[in-house]
Amino acid sequence: MEGPFATAFGLLLAADPVLMQIIGLSLRVTLTAVLIACLIGLPLGAALALARFPGRGPVIIVFNALMGLPPVVAGLIVYLMLSRTGPLGDLGLLFTPEAMILAQVVLILPIVVSLTRSVVEDIWAEYREQLQSLGAGRLRAVPTLLWDGRVSLLTGVLAGFGRASAEVGAVLVVGGNIAGHTRTMTTAITLETNRGNLGLAVALGIILLTLTLTLNAAAWGAGQWARGRLG
């Protein structure tokens, strides 16, 4: 039997159409989930850092704790919402890529919110007087603070991406691992493990890690580039 590295390399080299479809779907689901989580989580995290309201502490604690939400629980919650007998059942979204995106947003939103809050709080503490002397109110300072913290925030976004691309529990429950439709890298790895094709399962794992590595390298490179250009 050839080793898993050789299998992985062979699969990639042959641009196996089934594999390419699975990789495409995995990237589509996870990147869309990251994008949505950022659109909601970055402003929400920054607002949470700056706003002062009763119950702010408990809200922060809940978001921090939800970073440890087990993927299968996130999947079950979304499953029960989207099931035909659930409150959003009429949308018919269960066992679709959209359901998987929703489950992953639930998973990574707490990471983006919590890490953004932490980063923005630190920057605010540092530049508070400066920003206030320029006449910027707390909430009007949000875009500036997010922009200032972009390199640190990128780490939070990457953590979210890592969690989403690595998890299998949520996408398996809400997606159903349907061949050609909702089968992602992680659910395919689970399936091949269950078929006893351990070599192929490891090969798929190597490909997934390579993808993650490539994206992280690109993000790091972009961060370095931004740092270099803007000082």
């Binding site: 589509r28 035909r84 059942g89 018919g92 159903g176 349907i178």
Partner: protein, 271 residues
């Protein structure tokens, strides 16, 4: 923001938007809740392309244990269920969740175990006798433990042997057939498996078939349309078209022609 940065960001944003907007198949489809044994063996990969080419109806299979597949049908999250636990299937229809059960095919269960056979199962002449030998020797046994069709069949065998399995030797994995076989191969332990999954399973380790052929190991599969009266969104016409096809001479021939390693895995049984 400099123009290059802006265009880079715009490019990133638009490629993300494109990823999000990849066209979904406009084709008609049905969702079938089925079992791990049919999916893991590769049967669907063999027969579904034939059906899809002929009718243009895409079949999306969610493979679960029989218990979970029937629950998916009860909730209305599938149009058709295709499973193997007769009593549960009949209850599903009797409760009004399914329209009617049709026989599709059968295979059989086999008992696999370590090749050195520490419990002496090969010397027994019935499945219940095999289970009694395993329990008597306290030899490890890996159970699905997940209310699947295979788990239900296993519980029937213990009952026939007059044994309530419990103890360190009885390992309830709570997982699918393949995962349970992976566990059994490592321990090593005895296990009950459908022949289809076994024949297509690649990580057998020291396991081999130690007991087979007892008529109680017969494993029939049935197909049921989820009742559109209970769940109006069920695609009754498309689902019935699939049921009609799989029970037709053509569908039955497709099932019979599925082989792994030159061995036929499922035997047509539609009336």
């Amino acid at each position: 923001m400099t123009p290059t940065r802006r265009s880079a960001l715009l490019g990133l944003a638009s490629s993300l938007a494109m990823l999000a907007a990849l066209p979904a198949a406009a084709q008609e489809f049905i969702t079938v809740a089925s079992t791990t044994s049919t999916e893991n063996s590769g049967l669907f990969g063999h027969i579904l392309p034939i059906f899809e080419a002929e009718t243009g109806i895409e079949v999306r299979v969610v493979s679960q244990g029989t218990g979970q597949a029937l629950e998916t049908g009860r909730r209305g999250d599938a149009d058709v269920v295709f499973v193997h636990a007769r009593a549960q299937e009949e209850a599903f229809v009797a409760e009004g969740y399914g329209v009617q059960r049709f026989d599709v095919m059968y295979n059989d269960f086999v008992i696999v175990g370590p090749s050195d056979d520490p419990a002496g199962v090969r010397a027994t002449d019935s499945a219940a006798g095999a289970m009694a030998a395993i329990a008597g020797a306290g030899a490890s046994f890996a159970s699905r433990g997940d209310d699947s069709g295979t788990h239900v069949a296993e519980q029937g065998l213990w009952a026939a042997a007059g044994i309530a399995p419990a103890g360190d030797w009885y390992l309830s994995t709570g997982s699918g057939m393949g995962a349970t076989l992976n566990t059994a191969a490592q321990v090593p332990a005895y296990a009950l498996t459908d022949r289809g999954t076994w024949l297509s399973f690649a990580n057998r380790g020291p396991l081999e078939i130690v007991s087979e052929g007892d008529p109680v190991l017969f494993n029939p599969y049935g197909i049921i349309l989820v009742n559109p009266e209970r769940h109006p969104h069920v695609k009754a016409d498309l689902g019935q078209a699939f049921i009609d096809w799989i029970t037709s001479p053509e569908g039955q021939a497709a099932i019979a022609s599925f082989e792994v390693g030159g061995e036929q895995l499922f035997f047509p049984s539609a009336q």
